[in-house]
């Protein structure tokens, strides 16, 4: 059967990038379609009428939305190089941490973006407390998935990368090597793997984009 796979994404979105990484880790061929989020395509609006957001995976004409849902679909449809562990308990733990990253970590990071100066220190502390849970979970392991890259690694990598880029652009420390040696080492390891770092947006473009976003947020707060 001729397989048709399209991914509607955005080059700087950690949610879109995690899907690309999953597809690449499994060696799945797909057509990538960059969406202009200020001018959404009819295909996107038709494929995700509820949220009108990326990423959307369209497999033989059938659309799937929500990045974690897409990851599970990919794992169930292409069973090579599994992302989720086999054992139900370990799968539950993996799902727990993926949800934690997307809800707790990301939520606090977004809060920071919109915060007033005087609130920022408190938020950085909050972020640190939550990152400690992640640090502890990773202790003694190569990756969250164990010996090889798994579901949580794919989910968390682009979020933590986003934090690291924010750090450099804002000149603020969110995730120091001193406080988070395990997480930083894990990121270092992933940065060295071609299929993983190949998914990252070009550095200069990404930094410029982040700077523009920060400026826009600043004017919105005033």
């Amino acid at each position: 059967m001729a397989e048709e796979l399209k991914l509607l994404g955005a080059w700087a979105s950690p949610f879109s990038l995690r899907i690309e990484l999953a597809l690449k880790l499994k060696g799945i061929k797909y057509q990538y379609i960059e969406e202009d989020l200020s001018n959404k395509s009819p295909l996107l609006l038709k494929s995700n009428p509820v949220h009108k957001k990326i990423p959307v995976l369209i497999h033989n004409g059938k659309p799937i939305a929500e990045s974690l849902v897409i990851l599970e679909y990919i794992d169930e449809t292409w069973k090579n190089n599994p992302l989720l562990p086999e054992n139900p308990y370990d799968r539950a733990i993996a799902r727990f941490w993926a949800k934690f990253v997307d809800e707790k970590i990301l939520q606090i990071a977004v809060k920071f973006r919109l915060a007033k100066e005087k609130e920022k220190e408190q938020i950085i502390q909050e972020l640190g407390e939550q990152l400690q849970f992640l640090e502890k979970e990773l202790e003694g392991k190569e990756f969250f998935g164990g010996e090889s890259i798994g579901y949580v690694d794919v989910v968390a990598y682009f979020i933590v990368n986003w934090l690291q880029v924010q750090q450099e652009v804002r000149q603020i420390v969110f995730i120091s090597e001193e406080k988070f040696p395990v997480l930083c080492k894990w990121m270092g390891k992933l940065h060295e793997i071609d299929v993983v770092n190949g998914c990252l947006p070009p550095k200069d473009k990404h930094y410029a984009y982040m700077r523009a976003q920060i400026e826009a947020a600043k004017s919105a707060i005033k």
Binding site: V50, I64, I70
Partner: protein, 220 residues
């Protein structure tokens, strides 16, 4: 067969979801009622990250978050499945479960707030219900078809609690004429065997939530 414990709170819809799944699959378990104003060492040990219920403990190993627990139950006890077997259908089901999880906070806000804040929460709740009515519910009896599945359980808890919230705050949100499909689905769900025998006592719920609302408004 390893022992199952469910740490929960009788008035929590998240807890209720897990209970329904356990009953639908005929899985025996021991229920441990938690006092959230005085969390047990067991709860703190089993869910150090969020310190919330429900927590399912299977053979001493804890699983947290109601939806994650539902997936775990479905994978460990595959009879009377909560998810379809086709990967695409599963993705659709998971999409709706996530939608409900993300949007149901508006229902809690209706309950916890007043004035302008509450008005916005009512508006958001109506939008959530409208999306479910228009996009999620087909012509079938339940979200998944002829049998109760994960989306029904996830949605059922929220809708059932919404009925109590509506009475406590005196605002009708899920009006039958505005949401005919949802209304019909709610009746089917609440009258289904096992579900109908495992609904929380309405009078007790009203007392509990009236008190909770007073506390919430007082601390606002």
């Amino acid at each position: 067969m390893a022992e199952i414990k469910l740490l929960g709170l009788w008035a929590s819809p998240y807890d209720r979801r897990v209970l329904w799944a356990l009953k639908l699959k005929g899985i025996p378990y021991e229920y441990v009622e938690e006092d959230l104003s005085n969390k047990s060492p067991l709860l703190l040990q089993y869910n150090p990250v969020h310190q919330k219920i429900p927590v399912l403990v299977h053979g001493g190993k804890p699983i947290c978050e109601s939806v994650i627990i539902l997936e775990y139950l479905d994978e460990t006890w595959p009879e009377n499945p909560l998810l379809p077997s086709d990967p695409y259908e599963r993705a659709v089901a998971r999409f709706w479960v996530k939608f409900i999880e993300d949007k149901c906070s508006s229902a809690w806000l209706v309950f916890r707030t007043s004035g302008e804040e509450q008005e916005k929460a009512v508006k958001d709740s109506l939008e959530m219900l409208k999306t479910i009515e228009e996009h999620a519910l087909g012509e079938k009896k339940y979200f998944g078809g002829d049998k109760i599945g994960m989306v029904d359980i996830a949605c059922g808890a929220i809708v059932h609690w919404l009925e109590v919230i509506e009475e406590v705050v005196g605002i009708k949100i899920l009006e039958p004429h505005k949401f005919p499909r949802l209304h019909a689905w709610t009746k089917n769900f609440e009258e289904a065997p096992i579900i109908k025998d495992n609904l929380p006592d309405r009078d007790q719920m009203l007392v509990y939530f009236k008190q909770a609302r007073e506390k919430s408004l007082a601390s606002a």
